[in-house]
């Protein structure tokens, strides 16, 4: 899923200084799971903004709305009345959701309330780690399902680099596992260690043209 984290409160407060009626719009999918922009976070941010303005004696009216997925026009359309009511929108969705809102309501300023950071998974409660760089040319078949592009600090296709610490930790961050040690151990379990002898040519990063576009065969 897409991982995001909320922007600092001071930055969000500055974004809405000129407005007196603002909608805080959440997304109920990825950002809800990573505690950044779901219904609960919308409520908390809205309440904090009301309190902040009340402390400054500059009252503000904050509306709240959360849609299932803010990156889909049909779902965003459900809250068009609330958007119409507000002078500006703070979107707690990922960058894709913010842009969908901004495109649908061109006359309203739509501000991001979170920083979209990476594609990842929850490691434990409250901690998410990056798992995929969306490079467009998946390499996981050769590495036992461990992505060296994002999980190796150097993004090496032909690792390990030689700096692996004792216990299989990374030389750059001793807290992190060396991705190539993980790959070795995984391939060992699968009896596919011969793959470690392969040399892989530099990756073709042009596989994804920016902006990316995927057309389903039957659409």
């Amino acid at each position: 899923m897409i991982i995001a984290e909320r922007k600092p409160m001071e930055e969000i407060k500055q974004l809405i200084v000129p407005y007196r009626k603002v909608l805080v719009a959440g997304c109920g999918t990825c950002v809800a799971v990573c505690w950044a922009g779901g219904e609960k976070e919308v409520g908390i941010l809205a309440s904090q903004l009301r309190l902040a303005r009340s402390v400054e004696r500059n009252e503000i009216s904050i509306l709240e709305a959360t849609v299932e997925r803010q990156c889909e026009r049909e779902m965003v359309a459900e809250i068009k009345d609330k958007v119409a009511e507000a002078e500006a929108v703070i979107s707690l969705a990922c960058g894709s959701g913010v842009q969908t809102m901004a495109e649908m309501f061109e006359d309203k300023p739509v501000f991001p309330g979170v920083n979209t950071t990476f594609i990842g998974m929850p490691e434990r409660e409250g901690l998410w780690v990056e798992m995929c760089g969306a490079c467009g040319d998946c390499f996981l078949d050769r590495t036992g399902g461990v992505c060296p592009i994002v999980r190796c600090a150097k993004g090496l296709l032909n690792g390990p680099c030689g700096g692996t610490r004792k216990g299989g930790k990374c030389e750059i961050d001793p807290e992190k596992d060396c991705a190539w040690v993980l790959i070795y151990r995984r391939l060992e379990k699968q009896g596919r260690l011969d793959l470690m002898r392969n040399y892989y040519a530099p990756k073709n990063y042009r596989a994804v043209k920016r902006p990316g576009k995927v057309q389903a065969a039957k659409a």
Partner: protein, 131 residues
């Protein structure tokens, strides 16, 4: 409308703090009249949004009162509440509100004096900070 203007909102677990508050009343113990007791099934039921909403409605302070450590009727409700109270302090500081205005207290149902002490302490803190 600020329905809690200047009040201290005390979220009281129905297995500990609420009976303690009840006993305090029955024993005729005096505690400040600006306390508003809200009965909850467990301190763990109190979420961040409840604490923030209390302040939004004008509360001077919020108390979350649950069972003693290891004695929670719902096993981990009081420890969860403690974590949430800690986090709510950060959220309040972000908007320039003194984080000390939200506190967690643990007490047993037969401790009415402890309830009164906690409420008095919070009243003193809010008076000192000028609310």
């Amino acid at each position: 409308m600020r329905i809690m203007n200047g009040h201290i909102v005390a979220f009281c677990c129905e297995h500990s703090a609420y009976p303690a508050a009840d006993s305090a009343g029955r024993l005729g113990l005096h505690y400040p009249e600006n306390v508003r007791v809200i009965r909850v099934p467990c301190a763990g039921r109190v979420d961040l949004i409840h604490i923030l909403k209390a302040f939004e409605n004008g509360a001077a302070a919020v108390l979350v009162m649950g069972c003693e450590d290891g004695a929670c009727h719902h096993i981990t409700g009081n420890t969860r509440a403690k974590e949430r109270v800690k986090y709510s302090e950060i959220l309040l500081k972000e908007v320039n509100i003194d984080g000390g205005r939200v506190r967690m207290f643990n007490l047993s149902p037969n401790a009415p004096h402890k309830f009164v002490r906690a409420v008095n302490e919070m009243t003193r803190i809010t008076k000192e900070s000028g609310r």
